[in-house]
C-alpha cells in the first residue's frame, strides 16, 4: 500500500479519538493539532516514541477502536516503521497522516547479495552487507519497495 507522506498535516474534525505519535524531533509539528483536538473535546493520546519495542506499539495500535485517527511526525525511517506497524494493526490510509522530517531514505537492493541498503540521495554506495560498489539505478520493484543497485566492473 502506498500512503502519501504529507508536507503539512491537516486536522480532521469529528473523529472518535486521536493518536499523536512523534519522535523527539517531530513532537513540535503536532502541537497545533493537539490544541485543535482539545478544543473539540475529543479524547487523544500523545506519545513520544523513542525506544519502544515493535510488540508494544503493535499492542497499542491493535487496542484502538474504529474511528481512531492517527498522526505521525518524525524522521523518514521512524515514520516508515510506525506506518508499517499501524497498517499491520489494521489502520487504513484514510485513518492516518504522517509528516516525515529530514532526508528521505530509500531502499537499494544489492544486485550481488540481495542485501538491503538505506540510501539518501547518493548515486554510488558500497553495499553494507557484501561490500561491493553499487550504482543506484531507477529500476524499481514495488514488491520489494526498493531500487536496484548495479555492480560495476571498474
Amino acid at each position: 500500500m502506498t500512503i502519501p507522506v504529507h508536507e503539512e498535516l491537516s486536522f480532521r474534525k469529528g473523529k472518535r479519538k486521536y493518536l499523536f505519535c512523534a519522535d523527539s524531533n517531530g513532537a513540535e509539528s503536532l502541537y497545533d493539532l493537539v490544541r485543535l483536538a482539545m478544543e473539540e473535546n475529543a479524547p487523544f493520546d500523545f506519545l513520544v516514541i523513542e525506544n519502544e519495542s515493535d510488540s508494544f506499539l503493535d499492542l497499542w495500535f491493535s487496542q484502538q477502536k474504529m474511528g481512531t485517527y492517527l498522526y505521525m511526525a518524525g524522521n523518514w525511517e521512524w515514520v516508515n516503521r510506525l506506518k508499517s506497524l499501524a497498517v499491520e494493526a489494521g489502520f487504513s490510509e484514510y485513518e492516518m497522516q504522517m509528516k516525515a522530517l529530514g532526508n528521505r531514505s530509500k531502499k537499494v537492493i544489492c544486485s550481488k547479495c540481495h542485501g538491503v541498503n538505506d540510501v539518501a540521495d547518493e548515486s554510488h554506495i558500497s553495499c553494507m552487507h557484501c561490500g561491493i560498489k553499487l550504482e543506484v539505478s531507477s529500476h524499481y520493484s514495488r514488491r520489494l519497495d526498493a531500487y536496484l543497485g548495479y555492480t560495476s566492473i571498474l
Binding site: I109, S111, K112, C113, H114, I132, S137, S138, H139, Y140, S141, R142, R143, L144, L148, Y150, T151, I153
Partner: protein, 316 residues
C-alpha cells in the same frame, strides 16, 4: 577434425537487413514444441540443477497464484517431450497418476497430476530441471502482464529475484530506446493477444566476453571483468555470440503466458566460419547505435571485435 554440430545447430538470428534495431520480431512457430534438445543436453541440465541447488533464491521464484499455470506448463512440456523425443522421454498415465521417465538421466518420477505434494518441489521447478530452457510465467490481469514465476538459470544479465512481480513495462524500463515509438506498448498489446494453440517465437542476440551461460546480474562482478580483456588477437576465442531462442505460449485455463528461453553460445571464431554470417554480422555491428551496443554490454570491446572481423574478412 572438429565436428561442425555446434555451428550447424546454432540459431542464426538475423534476416536480410544489415541494420539491427529493437523490434517485435516474433513469428508464428511452425513446430509447436516449447522446448528443444541439443547435443549439450546433459551438460546443461546438470549445470541448471547445480545452480538451483546452490542459488535457489536467484534461480527460482514464484507467487502462489501461479500454481494452476505451473501445472498447465508441466502438461504442455511433458506431452511435447514424449511427442518430439519418444526415445528420450516416456509418460505413463492412469487418470491423474503420471509416471514420467527421462531415459538419458535414468530418472522415473511418479506423481499425481495437480497435487503439488506428490512432486516435492513446485511443478515449474520440477519440469524445468528436465529441459535446457529457462521458463518464465507471465500472468495477465488488469490489462497487463506480470512476471509471477520463473526458473531462470541462464539469464543475460538480469535478476529474477528483483524483477518478480513486475509488469512487462517495468521489467523492460532499463532498456534504453525501448519506449520510443511506444514499442513497449505495441509488444505488450501483441503479447496479450496471443492465443492458445498459436505459439510465437523470436530470437534475441548479444555478445559476451567469456563462455558462461549463467550470466546472472548477481555474478556480474565475476564475469563482467572479461570485457576489459578482449583484444583483436583473442576476440575469436574469448568473445562468444549468444542467441536466445524465445517462445511464447498462451496457457488456456489460467490465461497465463509461458515464455521459454533457450540460450545458445558459440565462440566468435566458430560463428564466422560461415562467410555470409561474418559479412552480415560485421555490417550490423559496425552500424549498431551506441545505446544498443551499451545495453548489450558490447561497448567496452566493440572496437576490438570489429578489428578482428575486418582481418577475417580480408582473408576470405
Amino acid at each position: 577434425m572438429k565436428s561442425n554440430r555446434d555451428v550447424q545447430s546454432f540459431p542464426y538470428p538475423f534476416h536480410e537487413s544489415n541494420v539491427y534495431r529493437y523490434s517485435n520480431n516474433a513469428i508464428p512457430l511452425t513446430q509447436q514444441n516449447p522446448v528443444e534438445l541439443t547435443y549439450r543436453y546433459i551438460d546443461e541440465i546438470s549445470l541448471k540443477r547445480e545452480l538451483l541447488k546452490n542459488h535457489p533464491e536467484r534461480c527460482y521464484q514464484s507467487s502462489p497464484h501461479t500454481m494452476e499455470a505451473q501445472w498447465e506448463i508441466v502438461d504442455l512440456i511433458i506431452h511435447n517431450l514424449v511427442l518430439y523425443y519418444p526415445d528420450k522421454f516416456e509418460l505413463e498415465k492412469k487418470e491423474d497418476k503420471w509416471i514420467f521417465s527421462n531415459v538419458q538421466t535414468k530418472e522415473k518420477i511418479a506423481f499425481t497430476f495437480g497435487d503439488r505434494t506428490t512432486l516435492g518441489i513446485e511443478p515449474l521447478d520440477f519440469i524445468g530441471r528436465h529441459v535446457q530452457e529457462d521458463l518464465i510465467v507471465m500472468m495477465q490481469r488488469d490489462g497487463n502482464l506480470f512476471l509471477d514465476a520463473g526458473q531462470l538459470c541462464f539469464p543475460a544479465n538480469w535478476s529474477l529475484y528483483f524483477d518478480l512481480g513486475m509488469s512487462f513495462k517495468e521489467i523492460h524500463s532499463p532498456i534504453p530506446g525501448f519506449r520510443s515509438d511506444s514499442l513497449d506498448d505495441r509488444i505488450l498489446q501483441f503479447l496479450m493477444r496471443i492465443e492458445a494453440g498459436k505459439p510465437w517465437g523470436r530470437k534475441n542476440w548479444s555478445l559476451m566476453a567469456g563462455s558462461r551461460l549463467d550470466t546472472s546480474l548477481e555474478t556480474f562482478s565475476e564475469w563482467g571483468q572479461a570485457r576489459k580483456q578482449v583484444t583483436k588477437e583473442n576476440a575469436g576465442e574469448l568473445v562468444h555470440f549468444r542467441v536466445e531462442v524465445q517462445k511464447l505460449f498462451r496457457l488456456p485455463k489460467s490465461n497465463g503466458i509461458l515464455f521459454t528461453i533457450h540460450s545458445h553460445m558459440l565462440p566468435l571464431e566458430r560463428f564466422i566460419q560461415h562467410t555470409p554470417w561474418l559479412e552480415q554480422f560485421y555490417a550490423i555491428l559496425h552500424e549498431l547505435p551506441d545505446f544498443i551496443s551499451e545495453y548489450k554490454g558490447i561497448s567496452l570491446y566493440r572496437k576490438q571485435v570489429l578489428e578482428y572481423l575486418e582481418e577475417e574478412l580480408k582473408k576470405r
